[in-house]
């Protein structure tokens, strides 16, 4: 989902930057609040960020014959919500832009928007919706992570189709969705399963902390 350095026209770079900065600033404010209220959630924040670090470094093969990487943004979204996850994604994306030439500084805003905002927002809505409907948090986290990952790539496809609507928006969107979203389906399933495994252990080790953060299903608390 990385849009490479220099591959977005300046006006789009600015638009995505402005949106992302607002969300990341709100996320920083939320992190401060969460850490003040529940200091022991610091470790959980670190684990959520670390999970993104690991998953987004893994380039995995897909049944389409090309490679892509998962995002790991569903876990943070279910625990802390999308804005906090945007902050964690920013750290990962800066690391990759500076050291790996993956993504870039000019496209940082756009990449934060897809991996740090759209994906986590979808994951968070799915997670909250399913747990409120009485579905176990372990099942809910699978669908949250699966859709969070997939929609991150759908968001990138939209961003690129908006910036490069050649020959027209619809055709460009189809082309980018074919490159990104189709390849991503098996990876998103894998990410869902990995997130379930991590979630299961978190629930076993830190049930009280998860409950305090409001991250468990109502019937599990």
């Amino acid at each position: 989902m990385h849009i490479m350095e220099g591959y977005l026209p300046l006006n789009w770079c600015i638009i995505w930057f402005v949106i992302s900065i607002i969300v990341v600033a709100f996320g920083l404010y939320q992190i401060k609040k969460i850490v003040d209220e529940t200091p022991e959630s610091k470790a959980l924040l670190a684990v959520s960020g670390a999970f993104m670090f690991v998953l987004s470094s893994l380039k995995l093969p897909s049944v389409t014959g090309s490679c892509s990487h998962p995002c790991g943004n569903g876990l943070g979204a279910a625990l802390f919500g999308p804005a906090v996850t945007a902050v964690l994604a920013t750290i990962v994306l800066i690391f990759q832009a500076l050291l790996l030439a993956h993504g870039g500084l000019t496209t940082l805003g756009a990449n934060i928007f897809s991996m740090g905002i759209v994906g986590p927002l979808v994951a968070w809505i799915v997670y909250k919706g399913l747990t409120k409907a009485g579905i176990s948090s372990t099942i809910a986290i699978f669908f949250a992570a699966f859709l969070g990952d997939l929609l991150t790539y759908v968001a990138t496809s939209f961003q690129l189709a908006l910036a490069f609507p050649a020959p027209n928006f619809g055709a460009a969107l189809t082309a980018f969705l074919t490159i990104f979203a189709v390849t991503q389906v098996p990876l998103a399933i894998g990410e869902g399963i990995l997130t379930v495994i991590i979630w299961d252990r978190l629930k076993a080790y830190k049930p009280k902390l998860l409950d305090k953060l409001g991250a468990l299903a109502p019937n599990e608390a």
Binding site: F51, P61, A166
Partner: protein, 95 residues
């Protein structure tokens, strides 16, 4: 979840990611397989005669250095997760 369920989940995950390697075995980068989707998107953009207006301020000078930095990224994440999970597990046993 039972340990056996976790192991089954992990195996399913491995199958998902090994399957493409078996399906396309014998193919490689030269005939267009296993390339990155990010690069494919960049090519799609270049096809519309777009010139990137900025390039990375630093790039890993070789594939070796790039894999070093990717391994470093995964290791940093794995250390943090492993540290806290081990800590929490020990904590749980003491209580």
């Amino acid at each position: 979840m039972k340990t056996s369920t976790l192991i089954i989940l992990a195996v399913v995950c491995i199958i998902i990611f090994v399957a493409p390697l078996i399906m396309f075995s014998g193919h490689g980068e030269d005939d267009g397989y296993f390339g990155g989707s990010d690069d494919a998107a960049s090519e799609q953009i270049e096809a519309s005669h777009y010139e990137p207006w900025f390039s990375s301020i630093w790039e890993p000078p070789s594939g070796e250095i790039e894999s070093l930095l990717f391994a470093l990224q995964a290791a940093i994440g794995a250390i943090i997760i492993g540290y806290f999970f081990g800590y929490w597990r020990g904590q749980g046993k003491e209580e």
